[in-house]
Symmetry: C2
Subunit: 208 residues, 2 copies
């Protein structure tokens, strides 16, 4: 919320439009000009169309929560992957964010389940192990008798560090730890990898 | 509303997220990938941030209406330009859209008032004189004793045609009709003209 309030009040169509432009400009990848264009669209579209957008935003915040098993986003208590009996609960793929689950699911190359950390360790930004879902992961490994963990954190310094931290926690335990094959360029993020790269990386996963 | 409904129901995070992605993708300039990114932002931002966006959309549709004099968008009965006693009501600038008023106001080169047509004549698309605010303009010209009309419709075939139609309606009446100087490239739209071009075009306006 860094934009100056006077801009909001000084919008030629009044503060309500100023606030809407401001709200659109807070969205990722939306600059001031795009925000003005989006606001103009809302001004000119029908009441029903505008309400459909507003209601969709509300409804998502009302209905979407974290899966109590894997912490993926879902509209149920347990997500559709964790509650699918055909998925292997002894094979767990560790990712940073819910969107990474979608990227991997799009390959159809993985029949196990997931665990969403909610980010990566970043001591300088104050993100420690307790800010991620690591203790829930440890509990899950014990309770479900997990046999293999596939590390699919981003291939960055922080992602690798987080994977290393988890593998150290599990030293001496009977869990095989692998990681995605490095078909993916170091320094990039999973979100932008294509299906082929991700399929190859899943097939070529290596012991961590 | 042309996107197929099955995409909405098949979103991995459930139909609520699918609907939000769909709604974002309906906005101008937002593709499927951008819509996913915006939905991810809504999923990860705070409840208050998401509600601020939803409420801003609602509030704009609730509070914004057409100025009863010039048909510009406003949150009052009469817009801030029409109700400003320093603005010349006998000098009226004709534009197609409310956003064109903003572009011209940003130049500070015009001390008259505006009239927003709400588009341009387009017989092939079924837009005739009755779909624009032309009859209200004629009434206003009589009642206020307007002395000069500045045609600032877009310098396109349709914009020019609309200006010509209005000037024909006023033949024989004591109103001077001018148009913006063509510093602006024919075929482009006012929205993307910069302040300098628009200032020059206002100063160099010619008898129509």
């Amino acid at each position: 919320m860094s934009t100056k309030p006077f801009e909001i009040d000084q919008h030629p169509f009044g503060p309500a439009v100023g606030r809407l432009v401001h709200q659109f400009a807070l969205l990722p990848g939306i600059g001031r000009k795009s925000a003005e264009r989006l606001a103009n669209h809302i001004l000119s579209c029908s009441q029903a169309e505008a309400m459909a957008l507003a209601d969709a935003v509300r409804e998502v915040k009302r209905s979407i929560r974290r899966c109590t098993v894997c912490f993926n986003l879902t509209d149920r208590e347990v997500c559709h992957i964790c509650s699918d009996p055909r998925r292997d609960r002894k094979l767990v793929c560790i990712v940073e964010q819910p969107k990474d689950v979608n990227s991997l699911e799009a390959t159809s190359a993985f029949q196990g389940t997931y665990h969403v950390l909610g980010g990566h360790l970043a001591p300088l930004d104050g993100v420690g192990p307790d800010d991620l879902t690591i203790s829930a992961l440890m509990r899950r490994i014990r309770q479900d008798g997990v046999e293999e963990l596939v590390m699919a954190t981003n291939p960055t310094l922080e992602g690798d560090g987080t994977a290393l931290f988890i593998s150290n926690l599990l030293e001496g335990q009977p869990v095989r730890i692998t990681r995605l094959a490095r078909g993916i360029a170091t320094g990039s993020v999973l979100e932008f990898a294509n299906k082929e790269m991700l399929s190859d990386a899943l097939r070529g996963r290596q012991t961590f």
